[in-house]
Amino acid sequence: MIKLDPKIPAGHISEKWTNHKFNMKLVNPANKRKFDVIVVGTGLAGAGAAATLGELGYKVKAFTYHDSSRRAHSIGAQGGINAAKNYQNDGDSIYRLFYDTIKGGDFRSREANTYRLAEVSNNIIDQCVAQGVPFAREYGGTLANRSFGGAQVSRTFYARGETGQQLLLGAYSSLNRQIKLGNVQMFHRREMLDVVLVDGVAKGITVRNLLTGEIESYGAQAVILATGGYSNVYFLSTSAMLCNATAVWRAHKRGALFANPCFTQIHPTCLPVHGEGQSKLVLMSESLRNDGRIWVPKKAGDNRPPNEIPEDERDYYLERRYPSFGNLAPRDVSSRSAKYVCDEGRGVNGGKAVYLDFADAIKRLGEQTVKEKYGNLFDMYQNIMDENPYKVPMKIYPAPHYTMGGLWVDYNLMSNVPGLFVAGEANYSDHGANRLGASALMQGLADGYFIIPYTIGNYFGSEKPAKPDVNSHEFKESKDEVLENVNKLLSINGKQTVDEIHKKLGHLLIDKVGMSRDEPGLKQVIKDITELRDEFWQDVKVVGKGEDLNQNLERAGRVADFLELGELMAVDALNRDESCGAHFRVGHETKDGEAIRNDEEFAYVAAWEFEKVGKWNLHKENLEFEFVELATRSYK
């Protein structure tokens, strides 16, 4: 029987992490080299953890499916990273960042974790500057800040519109140093396809070598999954093409609980869909909402070009509905508002797009200043949309972007499977039902640099896990199962391609488990996904062979897992009969369309245990709010 123990340390919220660090068991420097750690994924969380564990003296094996660890999708983050430095003297503090994050998440995250995230945020900025990350600066040489959604202070550090790239390259440089020193062994072009448990404890992984197709086993005394989110379950999302849920899903099938899978963030500022052949959606950084104004025509059917619609016939709906946050309302609120106005037929040309207009900002600041702040984003827009955003307002629409749900972890970021740690977007931890902008980079680096390196030492120090034998039957059985799955995919030889089925799944999910969800729709979609999954296993066509570089096969395996995860998202959304954050259940809203939570019944983390495909058992971790009051979220 699974018992969910979040292992929250005692004491006041501001002392929990300090006390916990003191109480944790240490591993002496000479003994650290006796411990092997596997890190899967080399984004901010994975590269940060691998580098820091290497510095501490552990023996690290790091894995990525990319050709280089620098390609992880953290690199795509544009706008910035939050920290409670209060360099702007505008009233920021650790407590305020904590409060904004927990409120932004609509009170569905664990207080102690969220506070710790805010607490270590300042160390992250110090760390990155020391690595040589060229953050934006003021003329006096100090660091510059800007604002992001859900906050009334300027606490976001940035490097043009390429903050994620710069932070990832910083982590990559630290990782490279450890590779050179021999503390980290780097494995490229390997996809994790199973986690290996020995007597219920995580002891290694099974991977497919993407160049040769060989199935390989690697053992360690702990495994860290830092494999990102699952937005690509929707087919079209802002995630990179390769992003997938396979690593966490295979861990889930081995016993790790999956928490709050229905908490998926649909980001308000993305480029609209251009056609069926589209492969992914492109995000326009939320930072644009600092200066851009969002509007639609007041009247449905007003198809005049935007510059011909007079001021008094425009509806700046975010400014109207949320006067104190305006265009910087949080993501879930902004996305839903865009959906409402488009559903009313007031979208651009009656379709799925709203305007993001810089005319006022250009008048106020001059084109040059706007160019300095957002130049690369404007260039990107012009390149894709073939329109000049300095002259014509941008067109945007919400798109799947980030997943707050993920594998359940305790305060130490360990899943319910001993020895299996989960970091970054892959875990459920700090963002509740909605993540605020510029907080994903913060969480990835917090987990990687400043949390797991401590908590893993505690695990080694207290449990003293033994080194596994990769020739044992557990490793062999895992290898056999993985190989069997590969052969099964290759042998179906049906009529539909992997992408065709993936697109069908995407349509089902965005329609029924997207920005708004209702009971009949969720019940229907569970049925539809089950059928689509059967269709996949009977009718998919995967060409080529297993013993070769085979991208078709790689995608097939990922889509097979998405077809199971998609169902769980709907099951979770059906169970959560309330509206909170990004999870909007029709029937639980005010007459203005604001979400109504049900704290009595749903102030818990829904952690799902896999029984068999299509069958899960629910475990609940009740969320206790000792230090903040459960309030109705208001951005008005």
Partner: protein
């Protein structure tokens, strides 16, 4: 398929493995002008898979021009003829109906072809491992505002740090030189106060590794800058060369 689709003839490089002999294969496609060139290949691959044929192997990930995974030579130009974009940002509206395209991998002695349009760029990682970092351990950093950095210096450092590590500079160079790639990292750290302690060891170590891996020497034709998707300036090469010379006269060779 929209009515405004354009029809193209594609000659795509196919090569089963590093050892196999490669050749162009011809395809006829009809594609939306709003699609990117990689979306065109996605569609083509989908069609090939449906017919039970082996799809064209090519790499891509973010499709926003920042991860550096994609890289095709289109009609002789790495990332196509347009300036300052990666292959994933090349849209089909830039081609005319009836046009013929040649699509090849990034070719260089140091970039072995793995399959079709995929090459091995692991040499870039090795160069970075040789010295592309600042040595300090997590937890030991001073307050981020402790060392002020002039705005224009931070900005110049970022200009260099924007390199996406795609390898277009190497593919563009007739000598397959990696000077622009190496100079971008050397320059970023040489400009910043945090990079000073290891400045001269770094430049020597990275250049030595670059030479060892078989990348050629700089011919000063600036093809690298012209083809770079991020427009990394050759001034960074000048800055690196200066540091390299200084390192040779002031420091012992590492």
């Amino acid at each position: 398929m929209g009515n405004n689709n354009i029809n193209l003839t594609l000659n795509i490089w196919r090569q089963e493995s590093a050892e196999a002999k490669g050749d162009f294969e011809k395809f006829k496609v009809s594609v939306s002008p709003d699609a990117s060139i990689l979306e065109m290949l996605d569609e083509l691959n989908n069609k090939l898979e449906k017919e039970g044929k082996i799809p064209i192997a090519f790499e891509s990930d973010c499709r926003e021009g920042i991860c550096g995974t994609c890289g095709l030579v289109v009609n002789g130009h790495p990332h196509g003829a347009l300036p300052k974009i990666a292959t994933c940002q090349l849209h089909m509206r830039n081609f005319k109906d009836g046009e013929t395209l040649y699509i090849e991998p990034f070719r260089a002695t140091a970039f072995k072809i793995i399959k079709d349009l995929i090459v091995d760029r692991s040499g870039f990682d090795e160069i970075q491992q040789a010295g592309g970092y600042i040595s300090f351990n997590t937890g030991s950093a001073p307050d981020a505002n402790a060392v002020p950095i002039p705005k224009e210096i931070a900005s110049l450092a970022l200009d260099a740090a924007e390199c996406i590590g795609c390898g277009a500079c190497v593919a563009a160079c007739k000598n397959s030189s990696a000077m622009l790639f190496v100079a971008a990292k050397v320059s970023q750290f040489a400009l910043l106060p945090q990079g000073q302690p290891e400045r001269y060891e770094r430049v020597q170590a990275m250049i030595a590794k670059m030479d060892e891996l078989g990348f050629g020497s700089c011919s000063n034709t600036y093809a690298c800058e012209a083809e770079c998707p991020k427009g990394i300036s050759v001034k960074n090469i000048a800055r690196m060369n200066r540091d390299y010379i200084v390192s040779k006269v002031t420091k012992e060779t590492v």
